[in-house]
Each structure stands twice: as C-alpha cells, then as structure tokens.
Symmetry: C2
C-alpha cells in the first residue's frame, strides 16, 4: 500500500466533498441533482468529480452506503442495542422522529425519498431493494421475538413488520411535508399502541 502518492495531490477533501454530495442527493434526489449541482456544492470541477468518484451513479451508490453507516445507522443500532423487539422498534421510530426533522440536514430518509420517480430503473431498484431488506430485517427480528415467547404466538411478524415500515416511511414523508419532531413522536407512540401486549408501562426510558 502506497502511503506516498506520486502525482499532483488532490485539491479537496474527499470525505467532505462526498458528504456535500450526500446532502444534495438527500435534498433533491438522484435525478433532481445534476452533475453541475454536485460540482458546485462540492467545490470542484467535473473532471475532478469523475476522477475521484466515477460517474454520477457510482457516486450515488457510494453516497447511499455512506448514508447507511452515518445518518441512517440509527435503525440498525436500535435493534442491536435494545433487548426486545418491541423496544427496538419503539426506539427506531422515536429516533426517526428526531432524525427526520433534524435542522442540521435535509428532512426525511434518503433511501425512501431520493429515487422515487427515477428514470434510471437500476437506481430506483437499488433503493427499493434496500427498503425491502429493511422490512425483512424487522420481520425476522419480530419472528425471533415470537419464537422466544417475547411476543404472543398469534403475532403475524410479516404484517407487524410491514406496518412498522409503513409508519416509518410515512413519517419520512410527513417530515418532508413539514411535520415537527413532536408531531412525529406522537405518530411513533400511536404506532406502538398497535403492538401486541401493548402495555403503556413498557416504554420506560
């Protein structure tokens, strides 16, 4: 591995430029963001962008990965760190309410909004697969909770996961439409009241 690079050094910070691209794609979506938009917010010329990130689609793919391990990582953390499926989902939705309305970055979820009406089918498909993978993750987490008896045996994991995902995606849309954090927290709480063994006392942090 070459620690010393040979030619002319890059005149910009790659991570910073990538984050700027992420914000722009997040705000305006894949097709709503032009390469000249990107070069402007990244502060570089088009040839530098293509040399550092490949073409627009490759850059977007990298942006999506980055989003998944940064702004969008709270979902995975909620499930990893909470002891029960119920608490995991409750935290997922509560944190989504805060994240989707954080004034420090664009509203809603990039994976949900950035490729909705996309002329490039591969891009739309890639985000759709990511969303459906998230639904499947939630479902398997719920199914595991049913298996251990944490949730009632008559619980339908697929339906409950689909419901959770729908609320999550609806919250993203609501955030885009101007809902406040408090608005979305109320939505999250109402969603949790639809869960089985829905004792109000359990959500106690």
């Amino acid at each position: 591995m070459a620690t010393k690079q040979r030619g002319r050094p890059r005149s910009f910070d790659r991570e910073t430029a990538l984050e700027q691209a992420l914000r722009t794609f997040w705000e305006h979506g894949y097709e709503g963001t032009s390469v000249s938009d990107l070069t402007r917010v990244m502060g570089i010329g088009a040839p530098s962008l293509y040399a550092a990130f490949g073409d627009k689609r490759t850059l977007f793919d990298e942006v999506v990965v980055r989003y998944g391990v940064t702004h969008g990582a709270f979902g995975g953390r909620a499930f990893d760190e909470e002891p029960t499926a119920r608490r995991g989902v409750a935290r997922l939705l509560r944190e989504a309410a805060a994240e989707f309305t954080d004034p420090d970055h664009p509203r809603g979820c990039l994976v949900i909004t950035a490729a909705t009406n996309c002329t490039t089918p591969e891009v739309e498909e890639s985000l759709r697969e990511r969303r459906n993978a998230n639904v499947a993750d939630i479902e398997s987490r719920i199914a595991a909770a049913v298996a251990t008896g944490e949730l009632p045996a008559d619980t339908d994991p697929a339906a409950l996961a689909r419901f959770t995902a729908a609320v999550f995606q609806g919250m993203s849309q609501q955030a885009r439409d101007g809902a406040t954090r408090e608005d979305l927290e109320a939505v999250a709480d109402l969603a949790m009241s639809a869960w089985p063994e829905g004792s109000v006392a359990e959500n106690g942090d």
Copy 2:
C-alpha cells in the same frame, strides 16, 4: 356556447388522452415523464398537446384534478358515506389497500409519489399542499367526532390525523415496493387497532 365548432376537428379524444397522461405521470412522476413520453402514450404530436392542454405543468395540474375526482376520490367518499370518523378512516385505509395495488393502473397514490424529487418547486409545493389539506381534513373530521362524544375527550385529533396520514402514505410507498393488497389490508387493520375505543368488534361490514 358553440355546440358546432368551426375549424378542423380534433383527431383524438381529449378525455382518453388525458387519462393516458394521468397514467404516465402516475407511474413515472412529473419530471420522470417527458413531453415526448406524453405525446407517444397519448398518440398525438407535440403541437396538438400544447394546443389542447397548455404546457406540461398545466397538463399536470389538470391531471391532478382529474385524479382527485376519479382514482383518488375514494378518500372523500369514505368520509362522506360512513357514519363515524372511525369507520371513515377504516374504510379509507381498506380501500387504499385495494386501490394502491389495483393491477389496472399504476401502484400507490399519484399525489404522494408524482412530485417527490421535483426540480420545479411549484409542482412539488402544489402536491404537498394537497397532502397537507388531506391531513387537515382528517383532523377536522376527528375533532368533530371528539366534540360529539363519538371519540374520547382526551383524543388528540392532530396526532391521530397525522398518524392516519403517515400510515396512508406509507401504504402507498409499500405498494410501490411490491406489497400485495392483503399485505396492505393487514397494515390498515393494525393501524386501526391504535385508535381509541379500539374494540375489535366495531369493524363489521
């Protein structure tokens, strides 16, 4: 009013062409649909389109109005024809499950999906206002139900309306991502179980 028109008659049916434009906007969104896409599916040339419908934005506005009184009219009907707010919302969500997955037309809701990442701010704003007006409608319906004692006095109409809208919009997204009618009906039923005075027996049609 001139029943007899003077010049060369139009070579296409305006309503049919409008419906074709509606389907295309519904499927691919405002910016994802080009004027040449429209002329192709409508079976007419560009000058005919501009003469009959104005520019692309004007045509889209007319499409949105048409959607509201045709495919998207079930929401208003649900509230007009059901005796209680709860039954109105339950019917809204059940019919949305069917409508959003109907194989006879594109999936999901045009008002929700057709201008998500839109470069033209007026178009995005116009649909956003329409969505927020729907939330306000649901809220006032719920507030009226609280006032008459139909719903408990401690019900938060704004929160319950926002929750309903989020589920509705999430169902549209889920339909786009491949959920079946049965999937969405399960989501609708779960959403209704979050409602106050949530007796399972009430939904009896």
